[in-house]
Point group: C2
Chain length 186, copies 2
C-alpha cells in the first residue's frame, strides 16, 4: 500500500484534534465535513474512511475532550496541595474566555452534548463523576463543594462570553474568582 501502517491512526488523531478546536470555536453542527477535513489538508470524501458518519466523529471528539479535561483538572497523586486552587485560577482566566477553541468543552459544546446520544452523555457523565470524586478528596470530602466549584466555573465562562464589553467580562471573572476562593476556603 502507498500509506504507512500508522498513517490511518495518525490521520484520525489529527482529524479529532483539529475538529475539537473547530467545534468548540464555531459549533459542531454548524461546521461541515468538508471544512473539518480541509483543516487537516484533506478533502471531504476521505472522511468516511475514518468515521461512518459525522456523529461518530462527535462522539470521538467529545471522548478525547473529556479525557483531556480530566488529565488537566483531576491531576495525579503527585499533584501539589494547591492543585485545585491552580486549576480554578487558570480556568477562570481571560485567556480561557477569549479562546474557546482551547478551553473546556462544556462551556462551548454543552448544549450540543445535551442533545447528543445517550452513549455520548454516559461517557461525559462518567468523566464528570471521576472529576468530582477526585476534587472531593482534595476538598476534605465535601462533595457539594466539588460540584459547586465546577458549576461556578462553567457558568462564569458562559456568562463572560455572552457579554460584549471587556469591562463586564473582567467584572464577571473577578467576582467569580473571589467567590470560588471563598467557597474553596470556607
Amino acid at each position: 500500500m502507498r500509506y504507512s501502517a500508522t498513517h490511518k491512526q495518525e490521520t484520525r488523531d489529527k482529524l479529532i484534534d483539529s475538529s475539537r478546536a473547530i467545534a468548540k470555536k464555531g459549533g459542531f453542527d454548524s461546521t461541515g465535513v468538508d471544512a473539518l477535513m480541509s483543516a487537516i489538508g484533506l478533502t471531504g470524501g476521505a472522511f468516511y474512511s475514518h468515521f461512518g458518519s459525522k456523529g461518530e466523529l462527535f462522539a470521538a471528539l467529545v471522548e478525547r475532550e473529556i479525557d483531556n479535561s480530566n488529565e488537566m483538572l483531576a491531576g495525579g497523586p503527585d499533584s501539589p496541595p494547591d492543585h485545585v486552587a491552580k486549576c480554578l485560577r487558570s480556568y477562570l482566566s481571560t485567556f480561557h474566555v477569549l479562546h474557546p477553541e482551547a478551553g473546556c468543552a462544556l462551556t462551548t459544546l454543552g448544549p450540543e452534548i445535551a442533545r447528543s446520544t445517550p452513549q455520548v452523555r454516559a461517557k461525559v457523565e462518567k468523566s464528570m463523576k471521576k472529576m468530582q470524586k477526585n476534587w472531593t478528596e482534595r476538598l476534605d470530602g465535601d462533595s457539594d463543594k466539588a460540584w459547586g466549584l465546577l458549576a461556578q466555573c462553567i457558568g462564569a465562562i458562559v456568562m463572560a462570553r455572552v457579554v460584549e464589553s471587556e469591562r463586564t467580562r473582567q467584572e464577571i471573572l473577578a467576582s467569580s474568582r473571589r467567590v470560588v476562593e471563598k467557597m474553596h476556603r470556607g
Copy 2:
C-alpha cells in the same frame, strides 16, 4: 388588504415565541427557516415578510428571551423578601433541566450568543447587568454574590443536562441547591 391591521404584528410575535422554544430545544443554527415557519402554520417563503434574514430573527428572539428572564428573575419592587431564594429554587429544578425549551436561554443558546453579533451581545450584557444590580440590592450590596449565584445556577443546569443518568442529574442539582443556599445566607 385581506389581513387585519394587527395581523402582521401578531404573526411576528407568534414566530418569535415559537422560535424561542424551538431554538432553545434544538439549537438555532441547526433549525431551518422552513421548520420555524411551519411550527406556526406558515410556509418558509413568508418568513421574509417579517425579517430580512434568519440572523435578525435570532436577535429579536434573544431580546425577548432576556426581557422574559429579567421579568422572571429581577422581579418588581413589590416582590417578597425571599424573592431571590424562590428564584434559585425554581431555576435549579428538575423541570428546568428537562425542559430547555421553557428555560433560561444562556444554558442553551449561550455558545451561539457568544458567536453572534456585538449588537446581540451588547443587549444580553445590558440585561445581565440589570439583573445583577437588582440582585445585588437584594443581597445587601454584595455584588460578587450576585454574579456568583448567577454563574452557579447556569453552570449547574448545563452540567445536569450533559449527564445521562437521572441519579447524577439529581445529585448535581441537590449539591448546587445546597451551595447556593449557603452562599445566599453566608
